[in-house]
Symmetry: C2
Subunit: 197 residues, 2 copies
C-alpha cells in the first residue's frame, strides 16, 4: 500500500485503500461488478476486515460517496458570483468528463435509481457539495450582485444541472463551453431574481 | 387486446401492445427485469413475433423510446417565450413525477449508462423532443424577446436539465414549483443573451 497521503493511522490507510479499490472496480465494471471480496483483494486488505467494516456493497458505496464529498475541492472565492460559479461549473465538468470519475458517477447514479440506500448516500453527497458552495451566493447577495432572499442552494443546483443532463440524458458533450454556459445561465437567472424564495 | 386507439392495422396494434407491455415491465422491474418472452406473454402476442421484430431487449427499448418521442405532446404556442417554456417544463415535470413514466425514464437512463445502444436511443429521444420545442425559441427571437442568434436547443435543454438533476442526482422534489423555476431561469438566461451562439 503506497502513495496514500491521507492523515491518520492504519484504520485511515485501510479505508483509503478499500475506497480507492471500490472506486476503481465501480468505474471499470459498474455496480453489478462490485464485490466485497474482490475489493479486499484489490486493496490488499483482509476480507474479514472489509465485511466487518462495510458489511454490504450498498454500505461500501455509501462510504465512498461520503469520502468523495470530503475529498472534493473547497469552493472558490474569486470576488464575483460569475467567477465563483464558473469555477464551480468547471470543477463539475472536469469531474464528469474524467474517465474514472465520470464512469464512477454514472455507475452510482444508475444504482441509485433502483437502490434506496445508494440513493440516500448520493443525495447526501450533493447536499454536502451544495452546502460547500452556497456561501458564494450569500457573498454575492451581500455585495448586491443578486437580490436579497436569493436561495443559494437553487443557484448551485442550477450550475450543475445542465452538465448532468448532458451526461445522463441528452448525450451532448460535457465540455468547458457547456460548463461556462451553465455558469453564465445560473448567474443571469440569479441576477434577474428567479431564485428569490 | 383492447383500448388501442392508434391508427393502423394489425402490425400497428401488435406494436402498441408490445410497447405498452415493455413499458409496464420496465417501470415495474427496471431493465434487468425486461425479458422478451415475458413481454410477449403480457402483450398476448406470439413469442416468435416479438423475437423476429425486435430481436433483443436493447432493440425493444430503442423502439419504445422512438414511440415515446412520437407520442409526446406537441409544443405549446402561448405567444410568449416564458409561457411556452413553462408549458414545456410542466410537461417534463408531469412525465418525470408520474409513477409509471418516472420509473420508466429512470430505468432507461440507468441502462443507458452502460449500454451504448440504449444510450443512442435515449439521445435520439431527446433530439426529437428538442426539435419539437425549438421553434418556440425561434418565434421568441422573431418577436424580439431574446437576442438574434439565440441557440434554440440550448434553451430547451436548459428547461429540462434542473428537473432531471433533481430526479437523478440531488433527489430534491420534481414538483410544479421546480418546473416553473426551471422555465423562468431559462427565460431569464435567454433574455440576457447567454445562449447566443
Amino acid at each position: 500500500m503506497t502513495g496514500n497521503t491521507r492523515p491518520g493511522g492504519r484504520t485511515a490507510r485501510v479505508r483509503g485503500a478499500v475506497l480507492q479499490a471500490a472506486g476503481d472496480a465501480l468505474a471499470e465494471h459498474g455496480l453489478a461488478g462490485l464485490d466485497l471480496a474482490d475489493v479486499a483483494r484489490r486493496a490488499v486488505v483482509g476480507k474479514t476486515t472489509v465485511y466487518r467494516r462495510w458489511g454490504t456493497v450498498a454500505g461500501l458505496v455509501a462510504d465512498l460517496l461520503l469520502d468523495m464529498a470530503e475529498q472534493s475541492l473547497p469552493r472558490a472565492d474569486t470576488g464575483s458570483l460569475a467567477g465563483d460559479l464558473r469555477a464551480n461549473a468547471r470543477l463539475v465538468q472536469r469531474t464528469l468528463s474524467d474517465p474514472r470519475q465520470g464512469a464512477l458517477f454514472k455507475a452510482v447514479i444508475a444504482a441509485a435509481t433502483s437502490d434506496p440506500r445508494t440513493a440516500e448516500a448520493l443525495h447526501g453527497f450533493y447536499r454536502t457539495r451544495i452546502r460547500e458552495w452556497a456561501p458564494c451566493v450569500d457573498l454575492a447577495t451581500a455585495r448586491g450582485e443578486v437580490p436579497a432572499g436569493t436561495d443559494p442552494d437553487e443557484v448551485i443546483r442550477a450550475v450543475s444541472a445542465p452538465l448532468y443532463y448532458r451526461l445522463l440524458a441528452s448525450g451532448d458533450p460535457v465540455d468547458e463551453a457547456a460548463a461556462d454556459t451553465a455558469a453564465e445561465a445560473a448567474t443571469a437567472a440569479a441576477r434577474a431574481g428567479v431564485f428569490v424564495r
